[in-house]
Symmetry: C2
DNA sequence: CGGCTTGTTGATTTAACTCAATGCCCGTGG
DNA sequence: CCACGGGCATTGAGTTAAATCAACAAGCCG
């Protein structure tokens, strides 16, 4: 079953149908969205929108990975979130964009023009309800990341990051699995509030300690999940039984 | 006009009527909330709810200041937000609480039992719409704080913090005004991801540089607003005309 | 086969932390 | 009324985790 990113495609078979902003919509509401949507694709590395730009469209990320970040004048950059399929871009009620959005991999967006979509948010409770849920989830994630940025050591930061990747991708039954780093060392550094050299050093340190194993620069395996969790600095009990 | 925190009081004259979760509600919807609300007061320093606790009530903060924070096992604490009047506590759809909530000053909450309130969120679009707006605003604030925690220097962090206080309290016309630090040095440190000694040192440094002036430990005046803004590390142009 | 991007490793510096002493303010009780 | 003690804040001395600067290695692509 392939879904082609074409406006004539039905939303019903869209890969993010049940997680995106439309998750709670019924058939009729979906038809409204169907009439408004348009797709747009960005190559890896391309900027999608800059902070301060006029917000002409809202969008759901359908495929690929994008980053949300802010750069200070002297070039210091902090990533404030990774956008994955079903994540939403734009803030109804605002005229401009607060953070830079950049395609990390090739990205496809399902876009809606601002005005018509804002009207829909007002008129269709299923959309504002879903938007509320998603915003609250992201808020919790952002706050947890604040703890990481403010209080964790470099090693804890990387361990947390690796654990996050493992959790996202793991189906509980899978055993020794290969995972992929979606970001370069520099991007990881900007996500964790560190420098790329520190990322490199801490990765080799985790490697030396037998926690992870690298197939190549971008692919790794977890050799000791319990040790990884301990290294993350989170809740000592939370993970595997000791 | 005094508003007494008594269940028989009408919501119409509540001090946070037009900013809280009820902001968009009409008279009828307000009556529903009126029938559900109860007030609770906490002394300064008291815990309001702990991470992991069952969420029995949602609440709007009516008066005072509370903090939202997380503490790692070894005692490292990171504050992830300050709750001010009209801010909301609790996440509809979750059973437990994600962060510790503590009264910084004396705090009064307007509370709603979980189940009935969750039903209301489903049935009354004005509530989910307002909740969405508030969550999105907080999300932007949280992300901006992530930039501070991940990339700003100690001096920039404190300057940003002071500027935040000044912005919150200032009516544009006011001139040389006195502001109050709502937190102790230690609490500021936990908010900014620093230690209390660093807070102290940086405050005296800003004092020496003629940026601020202290009346006592908790009260200060801004001597050079432009310099304060420059020290915050934010957008070089954003503030006062150079 | 170079040239470019990305990543690793080493040497050195530095901003912020830690540890420790002292000061200040305020309330309480002799 | 003054002494004492506890909480909060300041300041100093020394340490350290991560940043910076710099060289080099490993892929990758035309």
């Amino acid at each position: 079953m392939t879904f082609v990113f074409n406006e004539r495609e039905k939303c019903g078979s869209c890969p993010i149908r049940h997680r995106a902003i439309c998750a709670r919509c019924d058939e009729d509401e979906l038809t409204l969205l169907e009439g408004m949507k348009s797709y747009q694709t960005f190559e890896a590395g391309q900027p999608i929108i800059w902070r301060g730009d006029d917000l002409t469209h809202f969008a759901s990320l359908v495929s690929g990975i994008a980053s949300l970040s802010r750069t200070l004048e002297d070039g210091r950059t902090q990533m404030v979130g990774l956008l994955l399929p079903s994540d939403f871009i734009g803030r109804p009620g605002r005229e401009t964009v607060d953070f830079d959005v950049t395609a990390v991999t090739e990205v496809t967006l399902c876009r809606f023009q601002r005005r018509p979509f804002e009207d829909l948010v007002e008129r269709v409770p299923h959309i504002s309800q879903r938007m509320m849920e998603m915003a609250l989830d992201e808020l919790t994630a952002a706050r947890e990341w604040m703890v990481l940025l403010g209080r964790k050591t470099a090693r804890e930061k990387i361990a947390t990051f690796l654990e996050m990747i493992v959790r996202r991708e793991t189906v509980p039954t899978q055993s020794i699995q290969e995972y992929q780093l979606p970001l370069t060392r520099e991007e990881i550094a900007n996500f964790l509030g560190l420098t790329l050299e520190t990322i490199s050093r801490q990765l080799t340190s985790l490697k030396k300690d037998g926690v992870v194993e690298f197939i190549d620069r971008r692919h790794f395996r977890i050799k000791d999940l319990n040790a990884l969790h301990l290294a993350s600095g989170d809740d000592a009990d939370g993970g595997v039984i000791v």
